[in-house]
Amino acid sequence: MPHAKRPLSVPSSPQSGPRLLSLTWENLPYFILSLLATVSLLSRLYLALR
């Protein structure tokens, strides 16, 4: 699988600490889902607590 892990940018150095999810094209859908789910959850909590 020659294209499985093509980084979007230069990978961070090992000193930068552990990462939950590396930013690759393969992981982009996960990042988008995480972003939308987080915004949704916070917005709904805000509305529910008003």
Binding site: M1, P2, H3, A4, L20, L21, W25, E26, L28, P29, Y30, I32, L33, S34, L35, L36, A37, V39, S40, L41, S43, R44, Y46, L47, A48, R50
Partner: protein, 654 residues
């Protein structure tokens, strides 16, 4: 399973990539710049968010539509920060589109090489309804995106078992279930498929089950089910509403709707350029004939639609478009797959998954003219299936056909769309309000009247009483309008309270046929004949109420003197006790007319070209209703087509 081919990179991929990227940049600009344009978003998807900010989710008396209460909230709520920002309203949808394209690109590239990856992206961009939804604010695309991420998760796990993929597959299911009620179907199917895929991996299955529970709890929009149960006694909404919108004819309805969905998506690709589309009506007629021959006439419909008025909308709206020639080709291949079983090949499996989702929609949802956007996932899957099939030996020609049709559609459909042209992009900056109201231009004068009043009374208050089909969003988000939503009861209390505090007050009645001014000290500032039951009043001291005011059309009166089949004329302070008018029937058919006030009812028959002077007794505050039948004038008369109902020509006499 298709055998992985080499990483093919020919000039097809070299062209598909920049064309796709250019199209994506175009749509990204739309996502950032365009105002909210979609009818549904103005009424409920986003319209409910400012109402919830004022009145909360629980026991909120300000809701104006049952859709605001009962429809899942998860994806709509993502737009809340953008409403505060005043821009980027379609960015959540565009991100869903981008994520879906990434899944398609990476999957096809893995299966067949780089060419296939970029052709897959181009094919999805060439499905007009899908591309339009990418820059809209509806939630249908979120369901397709959830399905794509789920597939990405489980297929990645099959290649490289990792907890991360299992968790995201579960999160994606919760997201699609919470985005839209119809998302419950693919979510349920995805849960079953996940159970099958993880069946021999106990740890993965346990992680999936735990993550799924948390995902459904956090993202499943449980609050709207609770709200609907609390308000209507049923978690899906009012019984009548649910009954109206589901297919009540079982298997017969499902078959009829499937036939309609297939027929509605047979497009040549030439339709956008035709001044008068003569192709689509033929498909409609053939679909009617086929349904009649199958004894399926009028089954599967929402109750206000039927086969006599079956319309396949291809007018370039977000919700009234098709999937173009690429969709038609993919559909043809899906029909082929029904008779050509290749159970181990991915294209065939995708085609069957698409059929399953399409039939599930046909079975569960009643047919309505704007349902095509429910089929984003089936057509997306069919597009990918077509690309995969074209990498089969001896099917090479198909990829060139797909490439050519997609490239054509990517350019043609935005250029000929209703509100996605380059001029609309410019309009989003230069004429933003016109762009915002393009789907319902009759609302623009209402906003203008409120703004004008607001400019004259910067410290005043505008109270809004809105009906169930009202575009509430523009009045609740645009800073210059700054309108306060109220209930009918609030209105009666707020008017005297504001008068006591010397606060200048206007009252906007928006699409409320039930509203009667009664004894409220209100003087009409503006009424809007093109916008039903809509009036802007200002509050005055009771002593300032005029003795005589002019009659005004509450609804159903066109600017050219015609009425709709049903129209209503309001009288306020009408001391004459009688209203006189001339009715004219310039059509070649006999029309029957009923006139009714609170004091008198009259019926007339108007012969073709006949004029009639009539008078009717009225009360001081009254409403004169006009009811004309038949409500449609035959198309052949040239006065109207059967999509625009027409009443009579009315002139009021002094």
């Amino acid at each position: 399973m298709n055998s992985p081919t080499t990483s093919e990179w020919t000039w097809m991929g070299r062209i598909a990539r920049p064309v796709s990227c250019a199209a994506l940049v175009y749509w990204a600009l739309f996502a950032v710049l365009a105002p909210v344009t979609v009818w549904d978003a103005h009424v409920y998807n986003l319209g409910r968010l400012p109402l919830a900010e004022i009145g909360g989710l629980w026991s909120n008396s300000l809701w104006t539509s049952e859709r605001q209460v009962a429809f899942p909230l998860t994806f709509d709520a993502v737009h809340l920060p953008f409403l505060h920002l005043g821009a980027g309203f379609a960015l959540p949808s565009f991100l869903c589109f981008l994520g879906t394209l990434t899944v398609v690109w990476s999957t096809l590239r893995r299966w067949h090489g780089r060419d296939a990856g970029w052709l897959g992206v181009l094919v999805l961009l060439g499905l007009p309804t899908l591309a339009f939804q990418a820059v809209a604010t509806k939630n249908d695309l979120a369901v397709f995106f959830g399905l794509a991420v789920w597939f990405h998760g489980v297929s990645s796990w099959q290649r490289r078992p990792s907890t991360q993929h299992v968790v995201f597959a579960a999160v994606a299911i919760g997201f699609m279930a919470g985005a839209k009620t119809s998302g419950l179907i693919p979510a349920f199917l995805a849960i079953l498929a996940s159970g099958w895929i993880f069946r021999s991996a106990r740890t993965a299955l346990a992680v999936f089950a735990a993550a799924l529970l948390m995902s459904l709890a956090a993202l499943g929009s449980i609050e709207t089910y609770v709200m609907a149960k609390h308000s209507y006694g049923s978690p899906l909404g009012p019984d009548r509403f649910v009954r109206d919108h589901r297919n009540n004819d079982g298997v017969k309805g499902a078959v009829a709707n499937t036939v309609r969905y297939v027929a509605a998506n047979l497009s040549t690709g030439a339709e956008p350029w035709l001044k008068t589309d003569t192709i689509t009506p033929r498909w409609e007629q053939r679909c009617r004939s086929l349904l009649a021959s199958l004894d399926l006439v009028n089954v599967g419909y929402r109750r206000d639609f039927d086969d006599a008025h079956l319309r396949f909308s291809r007018i370039g709206w977000d919700s009234a478009s098709d999937y173009g020639p690429v969709g038609t080709l993919a559909l043809a291949l899906a029909l082929l797959a029904l008779g050509w079983w290749r159970t181990r090949e991915m294209w065939w499996q995708l085609a069957m998954a698409a059929w399953l989702l399409l039939v599930a929609v046909a079975f569960s949802v009643a047919w309505m003219p704007w349902n095509n956007r429910f089929l984003l996932a089936p057509f997306g899957l069919l597009g990918v299936a077509a690309v995969s099939l074209s990498w089969r030996p001896s099917w090479r020609a198909l990829r060139w056909v797909l490439f050519a049709l997609s490239a054509y559609s990517v350019v043609t459909y935005p250029l000929t769309s209703f509100n996605k042209r380059p001029s609309d992009l410019a309009g989003a900056i230069l004429h933003r309000e016109t762009q915002e109201f393009k789907e319902r231009p009759s609302m623009q004068p209402v906003a203008a009247a409120v703004r004008e009043w607001r400019e004259r009374h910067p410290k005043g208050e505008v109270l809004m009483l809105a009906g169930s089909d009202s575009w509430v969003l523009p009045f609740l988000t645009a800073g210059s309008l700054n309108v306060s939503p109220v209930t009918a009861e609030d209105l009666r209390n707020r008017i005297p309270a504001n008068m006591a505090k010397n606060i200048a007050t206007a009252v906007l009645i928006l699409n409320r046929p039930d509203f009667r001014r009664g004894e409220l000290p209100l003087i009409r500032v503006a009424s809007f004949t093109e916008e039903r039951d809509t009036t802007l009043y200002t509050v005055v001291a009771p002593s300032e109420m005029n003795a005589v005011t002019a009659p005004f059309w509450r609804s159903g009166f066109y600017a050219d003197g015609w009425t709709a089949p049903r129209a209503e004329l309001d009288l306020e302070g009408w001391t004459v006790g009688i209203i006189r008018m001339v009715l004219w029937n310039p059509t070649p058919i006999v029309r029957s007319i009923k006139l009714a006030s609170s004091l008198e009812q009259k019926e007339f028959v108007l012969q073709p070209s006949e004029r009639l002077h009539v008078q009717l007794r009225t009360a001081r505050t009254d409403s004169v209703k006009i009811d004309v039948s038949p409500p449609y004038v035959p198309k052949a008369t040239g006065l109207a087509d059967d999509s625009r109902p027409l009443g009579v020509y009315v002139t009021l006499e002094e």
